[in-house]
Symmetry: D3
Subunit: 323 residues, 6 copies
């Protein structure tokens, strides 16, 4: 059915109880602290290209446990300091080739695009492996159940830490105005953005579109679409691991990060989105602790607002940052 989830009225009021472990904050504080200690100096290698008025850098920075993570950094020519948008990528994609990222930098802001470890072979190429130093568990193909039996080995522990480290790497640059840094992304990129908003102090804004990784408990019970379905597939086989998996996921749920986030937030969702059902997005939105707005695209599936939402993203940031 086209509208398979709640109606808009119910969505706007939907604020479910989502499980959270007592040591949620301690877990993340320890995780980030360890990775900061393992961090080395980032490398920003300027690359040649055909585009005017901008500089592009091939970035290698220290993410989780000091492991190397790739990214692109694009910024206007000149001294700066520039405001900066950090972007996370949707499930399966990688940082792509740099010419694919000219839109935001054309407005006069800097743009940092973080590669997603292990991904980047599904629709846009990526360049960052995801080594597992300690044994996790066998997994259903994909990334959703990689190490899912333990919060310490779970894949998104590494990804969310990379995201915080990306912020810290950018914020430390002299050509960036650290008071004007925002994070964004669609789908998985939106989910990582929410985690970043919950974990980073001093972020200016989060723009999260059709975010993934929110309210897992409901998501894996109301949709058969991948990638949420990967978790259901895992539990279909590992019938005895449901509690353990749910416990792990609670440390990575966008709802729990939303409760902690304080920066201004701009959400979007789509009412026919089978991949990231609107109720899971509203669950995060309604719990979001900072100032917030949401736009619901009525006749869209997971593509959401597409170029219309991109235009909103540009307008919001340019207005906010005087570009």
């Amino acid at each position: 059915m086209a509208f398979f989830d709640m109606g808009l009225d119910a969505l706007e009021k939907y604020k479910p109880e989502v499980h959270e472990e007592a040591d949620f904050d301690a877990f993340w504080a320890a995780t980030l602290s360890q990775s900061r200690q393992a961090a080395g100096e980032p490398r920003f290698e300027e690359i040649e290209h055909h585009f005017r008025h901008i500089k592009i850098y091939d970035v290698t920075f220290s993410g989780f446990a000091g492991q190397s993570v790739k990214g692109w950094f694009l910024r206007p020519e000149g001294e700066g300091p520039f405001p900066c948008l950090i972007e996370f990528i949707g499930y399966g994609g990688g940082r792509n080739l740099p010419h694919e990222w000219l839109t935001m930098v054309s407005t006069g802001m800097a743009h940092f695009v973080m590669d997603t470890r292990g991904q980047g072979s599904g629709w846009s190429p990526g360049d960052t492996p995801d080594p597992e130093l300690s044994p996790g568990n066998g997994q259903f193909p994909g990334f959703m159940t990689k190490g899912v039996l333990d919060r310490d080995t779970y894949y998104y522990r590494r990804v969310f830490t990379d995201a915080v480290r990306a912020y810290e790497t950018v914020a430390a640059r002299k050509d960036i105005d650290s008071a004007r840094i925002a994070v964004t992304g669609g789908s998985q990129g939106g989910g990582i953005s929410l985690a970043a908003a919950g974990l980073i102090e001093g972020l200016d804004a989060v723009l999260t579109d059709v975010p993934f990784l929110c309210h897992f408990h409901r998501a894996i019970r109301i949709t058969d679409s991948y990638p949420y379905k990967e978790i259901g597939e895992y539990l279909r086989i590992h019938r005895d691991q449901s509690d353990r998996v749910h416990k792990t996921l609670s440390y990575f749920d966008g709802v729990n990060f939303s409760r902690r986030a304080r920066c201004d937030a701009f959400f979007s969702t789509a009412l026919m989105d089978m991949t990231c059902p609107p109720s899971t997005v509203y669950a995060a939105f309604n719990h979001y602790a900072g100032r917030k707005e949401i736009h619901a695209w009525e006749f869209n599936d997971h593509e959401g607002g597409g170029p219309f939402q991109m235009k909103k993203r540009i307008d919001i940031l340019c207005d906010r940052w005087g570009l």
Copy 2:
């Protein structure tokens, strides 16, 4: 089967006889002449935006029979004259929002994006209707059989004329260097590009990726994929119209335009492309009358070279035009 068409060796030699009517050139000369006579002044309305160093214009120009066709014109700030790339869009798409087209203009060339009449509701929005002044025929949903019973009423007569008129509109501008104009596009946009290359004198180059609208006779017999299949679907019902349809299509076949084209050509194709099978692309390539190159992407379906091909496109044009 992954490789469903000929092998690469056979493709490189494949130069089939493709039917052509004796009055092919006369038909097109008359068509273009009539539309030139019906043409009014184009409108280039500059729009506001957030992007630096460039100007963007919302264009309305006179296409087939003087009918209004929309487009975007993006060019660097400054006097020019600039070289210009004219781009045609894939099947189902429209000119989209202007922020989607920043890549080429960022290199210092101008970029003209032509809306495809009637289309623009399948994946990117368009704004140009396709009125039919004289009655054509009932059609299978889509555009492939719109007016297909007669060369005079066939949909692509109007589209290809729009493309020539787009060139003439751009070439007449003072800020454009008319000796450095190229056409490009992927899929349908690649097919329109080939038609433009065959119909326009003085074009500098054509860059055509996974082109559609080539060697119809084979295409509708070896693939079940849309949009070629629309023609098969039409003939499935109108069992008595096959000769008439094939006759019409011969006036619009990329192979016949390739025989006439003289500018430098850069083709790409994909060996697993079910939508525009590689043999139909090589049929056009091997008949192409000018200097030419082709790149075959081995493990790709209709997405072809994607960002890798885009990088080639940028490199070819910037090298050629000194950008």
Copy 3:
């Protein structure tokens, strides 16, 4: 789920508010008046065939704006006047070959089969083009969004006017008893029948099976099936046109025609019909202003009652008209 819509109890009470513009009647009065003024003489060309006791005519009559529309007219040999059934065709089909229409005329009534403009390449051949004299809008493949941004350019304005003109053409014949004319059709044919029932004075009866084009607002939100989905696909891309599209559709909604119709009505629907969900049919039925009956086929999808419903259609009309 097999039963995806409301249960039968709820369906029988379902009488939703459906939007209607104040000038609904004025719009249709003006539309019909203009087309009547543009009308020329119909042509009824008798054709040769192998069938006994009947005459068959290839018809060309003046539909919307005086444009030519095709049809078949079959009647018993003899003087008449005969009662007449006017039939409209399901989505994608055309008037087909005349031997496909022998059932009704075999009972002693006349049968007029109207071709549906533009259609007739999906499952049965048609012969009527749908020229668009004034520019409408780009469209999603199919007919549902052809000209949908404006009531004046919308495709069904032309089709429904053709239907009224078909009635007027038939009613003017001496061999037809104008007091005994009914309209019928399944799916789109049923939707056109309802429009005809709402627009034509003096119609004897309407027999509408699994009718399409009813309660658009709900239809495009509860089913992913085509052709309703074409509208959703259009709005998926043209995210800013929802209000405009809904306003246009209100002039063409079967519910609004049902409110105005006064002749006896015989509806059928199917409880597993994903194409024309039963709630959209009951919405029209429960608003229908004349005498009415409905039959709900429990285990059927869009094929509805099939030959069983055809038998009902024959029995109803023969009983009513003394055949």
Copy 4:
């Protein structure tokens, strides 16, 4: 691939060796003889209806082993004797309701429609059971493997015998001109027609469209479409029964009946027919022993010529029989 079978040139020459057991004729002679001996009087019960100039009878006749088989018999009013077309039905369908069969009788010929035992629950209703008096074998759902391990228990032994008995029942009627009886059908109906042509002396003609049940050995190896696939599915499980199944099928192969048939034959096939691939039809056609014609529909799948072929069927028979 749209054209998945041989090209037309190869098809026209394709005359494969098809296995045949030495006692093929003896088997059929004994089978028919036994069923003739078990036959009782047929019942022709005239039914009431609304159609003019014709009479319709609900028929029960003795088929295989004297078992009751249903049919419809439609004939013009009057004395006769009339020529008669006997029609067999496609896979899954039944004799339907009688109003569905008015076309042929409207030309002045009689029309006998034989129900297919056991079938009639797939797309048109049937009324004839298929009791198995002697134990056969377990089967894959459908009819293709019912009793397939032995020629004596195979389902089509009963069906083909029913077909011969239908002919004999009709030919014995005074109102029928036994010199002018033809058989026809599409798909399975076409396959039964070929069997009838091979088994009946004195038949005037066979009109067989997209016939099924021809050249089983090839059919089950080149298509994955049902119903041929039912046999492949059976052998997929009963891996040790391939020889036995092929031996049984040889007694029922349309190629072997074609070799024996002498009446005039009119075949049609479709070049994109995945259900009854054209090579299997040409195998029967090229072996056909009588005068013969074939029409190949180029862009059609299993629907073949549809209404166009129906028009041919009417024209052939009316011309032949002076109607």
Copy 5:
């Protein structure tokens, strides 16, 4: 939607009214009595094999109306008497090869595997035909509508009688302890088990997993999955037979057998089971008259608990029978 049926809370309370005819018990008493009278001596032929410590017998016993039904009987070497598990097979499967059944006998119990008449060509091979002595009705491919117009000709009348006869055959053996016989099966095998539990006096236990053939009235309205859908397909065509079909099915509904069963029962179901929806299983469970337990597998479709449930089955029986 992943969870398409009721939630667990509602399932646990779901005890619907299910229709039952007054002569339900009389019908079954007469059916079983007649088959007992027609029964001959079973044949247990010991076969050679490579497995240690066990004996395997190829069984032919008298089922419905004395017809031969096949099975495998495996038991430990030694004198016995052994407890025995009787197993019925899922839809489409047959008794398979004997080496596939070593698990239960390895625990020290005997194991009788009953072939399902007519089936055994879908996924595991079977060897028992299903002759129909008295004419039934045409059917939709499969077994669900075979003879469904009358309780006396319905397929499952024969199957359920075979099941009771299997029990009686086993219970009569000296090497079996008739006080320790249980029945089991998954899906159709689970449905047959429930029927056996309702029809057999003195059974020790029933272990029924994701049982089929329960609460037909709901099942055919909430799922589009086969094999329940076969009944919907039949009624889709035989639109006038719904009452008759529902009346027949009431004699074979697992809910009605559950009301009569007294032995201990162990059910399992799966909350995402589209084939045998959990509400239809809970309908039987909640009506079950004996002691009972149920396990609901949360993230499973029709595979249910798979090897985990098999482990439960082993543990339950070994604990119960001291193995």
Copy 6:
């Protein structure tokens, strides 16, 4: 098409050139040597169960780089030494629960079932993680491209080493007769078996059914089925890595292991197998250097001979080992 690959005659002669690097043997010798050096003592923990006459052990042994790999070891009670079959599992599966493996041990041989690292969440549960100590590359979901850019990081380097180590672990046991050890498996398990046959000295036999991981170059070009398709998907995105990927795969190609294997081999394949096309199996078979047999199942897809092949496997080994 059902038969999509070569015909049987061509298959029997198909012996293609398959690329092999000069240091193939050196690479494997070094890999195995390093892992042997890292190996610790295996753990065989006897578990409780309900099965008679056998012992079952939960095994943890040192695989690649000394990493822990799980398995089940089942053997008859008694002293031994027993012959032993080592089994590898199909793609996606894990070692499952131990009661699923009773067949082979029931014949009197020991049975060692190796868990496949990382897998075991697709259809049967597994318990072995696949940690990546050194960074590899991003990957397409699944295991086929995990670390595929370098032979040293490629996933199957670890798996094949585990397989050799499994053999060495078993062969060292006193209760095993090291002269009578065979390896087996279907699909991926068959591919691992071939690698084991090529890498292990002194193996008695290999039984490989529908083996995967053979003739990659052809496989990824003739089938669209997973898991081979994972490699095509990777190259679809990483368009510049084809040479590197093909070079890596050459170290893991079953054809290259077949060239080196000397023990007796029993292959099976299926002529309709889209997952592991028969030509890729015959490529390995025809290159196999030892004594060999092959059985081709004609009407089977990837299920191959199923229980019939299992019976062959039992018969071959019991005959060979005198059981």
